[in-house]
Amino acid sequence: MKRLFPILSILTVILLAYALYLALVVAPTDALQGDVYRIIYYHVPSAWTAFLLFFINFVASVRFLARSKPSTERAAKWIAIAIGVIGFIAPFLPPVRKLIPAGMEPSAVATTIVLIPVLYFLVGKWFPGDRLDVLAITSAEVGVVFCTVVLITGPLWARPVWGIWWAPGDIRLTSTLVMWLIYVSYLVLRRFSASAQTQMLAAALAVFGALDVPLVYLSIWFFRTQHPQPVIGGGGSMDPRMLHVLLFSWMAFLLFGFLVCWSRFRLELLKREVEQAHAMESLVGAGAPAQTSLPLSRNTR
């Protein structure tokens, strides 16, 4: 596993460099926007990665909360399965189909919803016990970084194209901003909370945050959106060459995000081990530090 990390790092650097080359040189210039549009190859992949990470954070938090009692865990499992089954069938039924925004394929919606139970089970399988909480903090932190990139590149792009930095009341802009605010408050809570109960409190806040996002979306339903329709599964008509570069760029970003998450995950695990070792050390007493096999002594901190 440890040898994999440097190999993947080198691969990521090459992919990111090639993605930059593709974005700046190979991709055709947009007929309407000119070269300005090329920021899409950073804006959109960052957004997808950020949303994916926030989603992982939500799933990990729910699993962490459900873990407290066997009965809730069983209930959560069946709810996840039910969401998957209903979500896979419902988008194809005519009454639900009418609710899906124009241009968005029902199959795309169904596939996205099926991801919920899949992720729920994979996360539970790969991250047992307290590692769920480590996964939650990791994905939230890295997600906030990617979301910040989205919120910075968005206005940079909007200024030359729309003539304004920010469109107040826009459905996508506002919901992304609110999501960013919620996850920043999540990180603040983790920072200011005493160690023992932080995990539960943070998991509860993550659930509240995830419930909030659809409501934000609903609350600005009445406003017109200035933001273009989504590229994948939406009504957007994109040149296949552009789409190819975009997907390649996303792959590079995903790998980069995965690497950052991985190293952050290991760092957090190590930090917790050290904290436990310190706690053990103070329990055993300062007189007998030699008998306890600690990874680090107290002085090195």
Binding site: F192, S193, Q197, L201, A204, G209, L218, S219
Partner: protein, 225 residues
């Protein structure tokens, strides 16, 4: 079920009695929102027509800030003499405690709103152009939205360092949809330009979703160790 209502009413009556005798929360909220109103009056000096468009935002921002003052005190009161710890080890249903605190805060904030609204009307020369009765459901649902989440996050921030500042940091991002609904709904009624029905439904949805979530998670928060 009887014990649930017994605990709920006992806590609620205790809180109201405490508030009636000390008037700590109400007085500080009242004075605080009065200050906010006065500062707003100095900062913005609008014509009657403009004020209809902005006063919805001003009113709710003032009430939101004032509500935070009261919400910060709800649980702090229980920390003295380890009341909350006693509650934690007792078999009493924790949701009864949560509902009692929420209803108590709802009453206090509603009283504040009833007292402060005339001041806004006087300062900004307001005249409602739309159906005025719709302001009542907007106010009730909006206040409950603020208070139910506020009580939950106040209990959450109780476990953190500098808890007074944690509450607004947690509450404000989550409250944005509710605040949007309240402000836009109030503006719609005041100007009479469009219907406020959508916002009332939105607030109702928000209330149902977050009341359920709070009731579902409060036990976990209270007993988190």
């Amino acid at each position: 079920m009887t014990s649930f209502w017994a605990v709920l009413s006992a806590t609620l009556v205790k809180d109201i009695r405490l508030e009636w005798r000390s008037k700590d929360a109400l007085n500080s909220m009242l004075f605080f929102s009065l200050l906010v109103v006065v500062i707003f009056v100095f900062s913005f000096d609008p014509l009657a027509e403009e004020s209809r468009h902005i006063v919805g935002g001003l009113v709710w921002v003032a009430f939101l800030f004032a509500a935070v003052v009261a919400l910060n005190q709800t649980w702090a009161r229980e920390l003295r003499n380890q009341v909350l710890d006693a509650y934690r080890v007792s078999p009493a249903p924790s949701n009864a405690l949560f509902l009692a605190k929420s209803v108590g805060n709802f009453l206090f904030v509603s009283i504040l709103e009833a007292l402060m609204t005339p001041l806004f009307v006087v300062f900004y020369n307001l005249r409602v152009l739309g159906p005025g009765w719709q302001l009542i459901p907007i106010a009730l649902l909006g206040t409950w939205a603020l208070v139910v989440n506020g009580t939950f996050f106040a209990a959450m921030s109780l476990r953190t360092r500098n808890r007074e500042i944690m509450l607004p940091l947690l509450l404000f991002p989550i409250s944005i949809p509710a605040l949007l609904g309240m402000v836009a709904g109030t503006t719609a009624v005041l100007t009479g330009e469009n219907s406020a029905h959508f916002y009332i439904v939105l607030l109702l949805t928000y209330d149902v979703v977050f009341t359920t979530a709070s009731l579902g998670l409060f036990g976990t928060i209270l007993h988190a160790e």
